[in-house]
């Protein structure tokens, strides 16, 4: 169903008028209130009154994740702190974390777009939503929660993990909608099979799956094994969290809520806007956020955009399923990880430049990361116990800093292949991505 036909099926001309009004207001507000953006706008020589059409968007400067980190903790807060009612904070060891501050209106917007997303997946107040995204600093859990509450669905805040219990709850409470990462959905199928259950007979009908980059092959696998319709949801903490865009049952792209999030596709090298249909980096301007609004935020996600109305009747633009990243960020079980973050931790433990490799596999449906570390004289001891301690220490540091459990494996020196002196840092052995 369509949660908000007024905005989801809006006439494009009217939408563009609303977008332009909101953009003008946003630029003015950022220029007047936030030294960070005043400086950036002055640097490119743009004054708020110069924004006269949506095409003028390209005059505005981009915002990058590094800039958000540099602004930690309050550097990018546009609303006064007394108006902020919630924070979400990303993990980070390279530099500082990224903070999203929400005013009451921001939470209202988040609830609204998440309600639209869940409704696109067929959710009504009669549904039981088992929300297996992690609750906490990660935006997945609470974002979905707000949307389900807005609809009035019966929300089970299951959070991640304890899979056997999840399956028991699913059966006993008749959960009809499952929200989690795609790899966790596969893990649920595996675990149900181990428990002697037929996963197809579980009551779940629809999965709203995201926070990871996943392929059509993986969708088919999930749909077959769980007997559900698997739909893709897109979002990122910097913008608001989940609920930026969502597929409907036709699975012909993710509807992006353009009245709040103004999308552009750019060439990541030239930074020039690309025409409709061409693949490039998604850039988003938050039109309505109060707490931490952003101008032309470079998501690093690769997709294309399609402005034609969908068969279901929505007129808002659709982005294609995310194809990959323009940087080397990995998304593992919903956790964002840069190889450089792991490198920093290894450097701290080894006190020398580490030779390492990340091996990504899928075990029982879940992404599984092994950090292989070459044994240098600094960390080689003639005692099994001490070698095992080093492995444990590295794993513990990574878990504490990145919130991700990994396997650590010491390997022989030079075991990691080098081409032109540079080691290949990532080996991806997942069959379904």
């Amino acid at each position: 169903m369509i949660w908000n036909p007024r905005y989801e099926c809006i006439d494009r001309k009217e939408l563009e008028e609303i977008q332009l009004e909101r953009l003008k207001h946003l630029v003015k507000r950022l220029y007047e209130r936030l030294p960070f953006y005043k400086k950036k706008l002055d640097e490119v020589g743009v004054k708020p009154y110069q924004i006269k059409s949506l095409d003028d968007l390209r005059l505005l400067p981009f915002t990058t994740k590094d800039e958000l980190r540099q602004g930690y903790p309050y550097g990018l807060f546009t609303a006064p702190l007394e108006d902020i009612i919630e924070f979400h904070i990303s993990s980070g060891t390279t530099g500082k974390p990224v903070v999203d501050g929400y005013t009451r209106k921001d939470i209202d917007i988040w609830s609204e777009v998440m309600a639209r997303a869940l409704a696109s997946a067929g959710c009504t107040s009669k549904d039981v939503v088992q929300n297996a995204y992690g609750y906490g600093l990660f935006t997945g859990g609470l974002g979905v929660h707000y949307g389900a509450q807005r609809i009035g669905a019966k929300t089970i805040p299951a959070s991640g993990g304890q899979t056997r219990r999840q399956i028991m709850i699913m059966k006993d409470f008749g959960s009809t909608i499952l929200t989690c990462t795609p790899s966790y959905a596969l893990h649920i199928a595996e675990t149900a099979e181990e428990m002697g259950e037929n996963p197809v007979e579980l009551p779940v009908k629809v999965g709203v799956l995201g926070a990871e980059c996943w392929s059509e092959n993986m969708r088919q696998e999930i749909e077959k094994r769980l007997g559900i319709m698997a739909l893709d949801i897109y979002g990122l903490t910097e913008i608001i969290g989940p609920g930026v865009a969502q597929e409907c049952e036709y699975k012909e792209g993710l509807h992006i809520y353009e009245d709040h999030f103004l999308p552009e596709i750019i060439d990541p090298d030239t930074l020039e806007p690309l025409p409709e249909g061409e693949e490039g980096e998604l850039v988003i301007t938050t039109l309505t956020r109060e707490g931490t609004p952003l101008l032309r935020y470079r998501t690093r996600d690769i997709t294309s955009i399609n402005y034609s109305p969908c068969r279901y009747g929505r007129t808002i633009a659709r982005i294609s399923k995310i194809k990959g990243r323009t940087d080397d960020m990995l998304i593992i079980r919903g956790v964002n990880v840069f190889p450089s973050q792991i490198e920093n931790i290894l450097m701290k433990v080894e006190e020398t430049e580490p030779h390492y490799q990340l091996v990504l596999e899928r075990k029982k449906g879940l992404d599984d990361l092994t950090v292989e570390v070459e044994t240098t004289p600094e960390i080689f001891f003639d005692e099994i116990k001490r070698l095992e301690e080093i492995e444990k220490r590295i794993a513990k540091e990574i878990e504490e800093n990145l919130g991700l459990r990994v396997n650590v494996k010491l390997v022989e020196p030079k075991a990691i292949g080098r081409s032109a002196g540079k080691a290949k840092r990532l080996i991806d052995r997942r069959e379904l991505k």
Binding site: T375, D382, L387, K409, L410, V411, E412, P413, K414
Partner: protein
Amino acid sequence: MLVKQISVFLENKIGRLAEITELLGQNKINIRALAIADTTEFGILRLIVDNPEKAQEVLEDRGFAAKQTDVIVVKVADKPGGLAGILKELKKSDLNVEYLYAFVKQSGENALVVFRIENTSEAIKVLQGMGVEIISPEEIYSL
């Protein structure tokens, strides 16, 4: 009194031991004794050789992580209870044996036992005190 043992880091992969023994053979290094400690993923190969300096050099050149460790080699009567007496004394003196391994010389009445003990000087005192014969490095390397 202390013998230099070569410790080598090994992944549990087929053919690694063969590669090391072949490498040492080509360099005319003779292995006197060896032991392997392992986990499911990796192991430590411990070698007593006739030329530890050279062994470490050729292993490192080939890209292995190798280091020298001080161990004590003692002569133990090759009869039931021979080793037990020594271990009992070490325990009495609160000396912790990190690991040990034994090898029997050809046609001898004694076994040679390699001890790795953290506090080596104290251990030597205790062993000498009980009249245990400690083998000198020269003797080991020229066996």
